[in-house]
């Protein structure tokens, strides 16, 4: 009886227009040159990063005393080779991930509008919100499949080359990390879909997306540094007190946390480096008495929870604005 119900539900879903729309998005992405080029770029850089990590992991492993702290699979994602010529996997992903999100969404609506296909779809009995929802879900599904396959391939490559299976905790940490990547890319996707609704030209919307991405990945930290330095009292005649230093540091992290890139880097650090016990400044009093051991998975998750919520809600806000504009927009070109 239960099974019958489930089967029926699946059937209604498969015949629903949302699924038809989403499926078309997925097909379009998979067949598009754009997605395949991006896929090749990201795939190659990941292979390069993993290759360099694997070539130096023996040295890293030799330096670790306690077998419990080894976390070889997490190391694989974070270390670079000894010469430092290639960045690590996490650097690549946090750099290229937003680009993937932007490039899959920047022409979602305006392309259809300019080709008049939007009008044709909208004159069918389809709720208007299904159209942007399907754009988002379709792209996100493609991204999720891609990220998961990369992650699992990395684990596979690790098993083959190191001969040690990952511990359960490592595995869960990596999977959680992959989910985090997807929600991070989801934010950029939502942002670029918003631009694709707002701007009639695909080029403008792509540029707007890239501008925001560049702003947060390069300029934002410079600006925050400027603000923090400017808020310091004159250092010529007096050295700053420890208290003031801490205040500055707090100001710095608080401002930086407005940037999704920074939030994601915090998530990455805590998830993949269990020995990091906290984010932000710690006073001597807090350190006294603490045991210098790696954090458990749940403790790590507790620490990054606000960051995760931050990124997801930023994505939802983008999507909500996009939704709002789209519902009330005139479709006529």
């Amino acid at each position: 009886m239960e099974l019958h119900n489930v089967a029926k539900r699946i059937e209604t879903f498969v015949n629903s227009s949302l699924w038809t729309l989403t499926r078309k998005e997925i097909t379009d992405h998979i067949r598009s040159f754009r997605f395949n080029i991006l896929l090749a770029i990201i795939f190659l850089t990941c292979i390069a990063a993993i290759y360099s990590a694997l070539s130096s992991i023996r040295d890293v492993a030799a330096g670790i005393e306690d077998a419990k702290d080894m976390n070889l699979y997490l190391q694989m994602l974070t270390i670079t080779d000894s010469s430092g010529s290639l960045p690590s996997f996490i650097t690549f992903i946090s750099f290229l991930g937003p680009l993937l999100g932007i490039s899959l969404g920047f022409d979602a609506i305006n392309k259809e509008r300019n080709a008049h296909t939007l009008l044709r779809v909208l004159s069918q009995p389809v709720p208007r919100d299904y159209i942007i929802l399907s754009k988002f879900l379709g792209s996100l599904a493609v991204i999720a499949a891609f990220i998961f396959s990369i992650g699992l391939l990395i684990i596979g490559a690790g098993i083959l080359s190191m001969g040690i299976p990952p511990s359960f905790e490592e595995f869960i940490r990596i999977i959680t990390y992959l989910v985090m990547i997807i929600s991070y890319i989801g934010f950029w996707l939502g942002l670029s879909i918003l631009f694709s609704i707002r701007f009639k030209q695909a080029a403008t919307s792509a540029l707007a997306g890239i501008a925001i991405w560049l702003f947060f990945s390069i300029f934002y930290s410079i600006i925050v540094n400027l603000i923090v330095n400017a808020s310091l009292p004159d250092q010529l005649f007096q050295s700053i007190s420890a208290e003031q230093q801490q205040q500055n540091y707090e100001l710095y992290t608080n401002l930086m946390r407005l940037s999704p890139n920074f939030l994601f880097s915090e998530i990455t650090t805590i998830l993949l480096t269990p020995s990091y016990r906290t984010l932000g400044p710690v006073s001597m009093e807090q350190i006294v008495g603490s045991i210098p051991s790696p954090l458990g998975l749940f403790d790590s998750l507790t620490i990054i929870w606000p960051q995760v919520i931050g990124i997801i809600s930023a994505g939802i806000i983008c999507f909500a604005i996009a939704y709002f504009i789209f519902i009330f927009q005139e479709i006529r070109s």
Partner: protein, 317 residues
């Protein structure tokens, strides 16, 4: 007997400062082919978008199949097919795939959608091109595929915005015949807009002349001609033999005379009322030989010129 399928009551639409449609009243009954005629920018498309529920009217009430389009968008779109002037097909999908996709959006299963699409493609004569990418279709083929596309949902009403735009004359005739056949076969109500009176008058049961947001006249073509005739006075073309220079002065004595123009060797007389035979008598009794006397009727060109080009002078004349 007649059931009203589209009803507009006092519908207006303002865009910022301009009024695109002004207090429009229009009824279209079931199974009818109605032509909305007017020059570019008359507000035809705006009216169509409002009927479809894609644009919100500023004021007034629209009813389509007994429903208000803005409030029941999904239900109305289930019953109303729309063919825009340039149908947006997904260019990387074949003609057949495009139709099947729309069929599925209308809730058909893949196999049903395919069956229906194949049937319709045959009806519009695109069997040979159905596996070709829609991006490779010619303008005329796109419009025909568009017609099949609107029929995928088995509509009660099909609304077409400038369907004949950019098709060659032969293609237009074929296309219009197709529309007429389909309308009669399936009992579909059709509303089409055009600025080509010549083309669409053949298939329209009724037309409405639409200029600057106002519906100036509606009815079948003979009604329009009659309306035009009543508005203007009756005109006669006269060819006489005799002293032509004297003729106008002579004619001023005729009681029903309104105006007179000379057109090389003939005269155009405008009378205040229809001639009852006294005109010929008057001319012969004035010493002229009457060679020809012909009442001038208004053709399509006159209707076109009167309403479309001189749109702004209507009402003051």
């Amino acid at each position: 007997m007649k059931e009203n399928i589209i009803e507009l009551k006092g519908v207006s639409k303002d865009y910022k400062e301009t009024r695109a449609v002004n207090k429009l009243d229009l009824t279209i009954s079931k199974g009818e082919i109605f032509g909305l005629l007017g020059p570019n920018g008359a507000g035809k498309s705006t009216t169509i978008y409002m009927i479809l529920g894609l644009t919100k009217p500023t004021e007034g009430k629209i009813t389509v199949c007994g429903l208000e389009p803005m409030k029941n968008q999904i239900l109305v779109k289930k019953k109303v097919g729309f063919l825009p002037d340039d149908v947006g097909f997904y260019e990387n999908m074949s003609g057949l795939e495009n139709l099947v996709y729309v069929g599925k959006l209308n809730g058909l299963s893949t196999s049903n959608a395919k069956e229906r699409a194949l049937h319709l493609i045959k009806q519009v004569g695109l069997e040979e091109a159905m596996h070709k990418k829609a991006g490779k279709y010619s303008r005329g083929m796109r419009q025909r595929l568009g017609l099949a596309d609107t029929l995928m949902k088995e509509p009660e009403v099909v609304i077409m915005d400038e369907p004949t735009l950019g098709i060659d004359p032969k293609g237009i005739n074929e296309f219009l015949d197709m529309i007429q056949t389909l309308s009669k076969e399936h009992g579909i109500t059709i509303l089409l807009s055009s600025h080509q009176l010549h083309q669409v008058q053949k298939i329209c049961d009724r037309v409405g002349i639409f200029v600057r947001g106002n519906l100036l006249q509606e009815g079948d073509i003979p009604t329009l001609q009659r309306a035009l005739q009543e508005e203007n006075h009756v005109k006669y073309k006269v060819v006489v033999d005799g002293s032509l220079a004297e003729f106008p002065r002579k004619m001023e004595e005729y009681s029903n005379m309104e105006m007179m123009e000379r057109d090389s060797d003939s005269f155009i007389l405008t009378l205040t009322k229809e001639d009852d035979g006294s005109l010929a008598d008057f001319i012969t009794s004035s010493g002229y030989k009457l060679l020809a006397l012909e009442q001038l009727t208004y053709g399509l060109d006159d209707i076109y010129e009167r309403y479309f080009q001189g749109g702004e002078s209507i009402g003051t004349a």
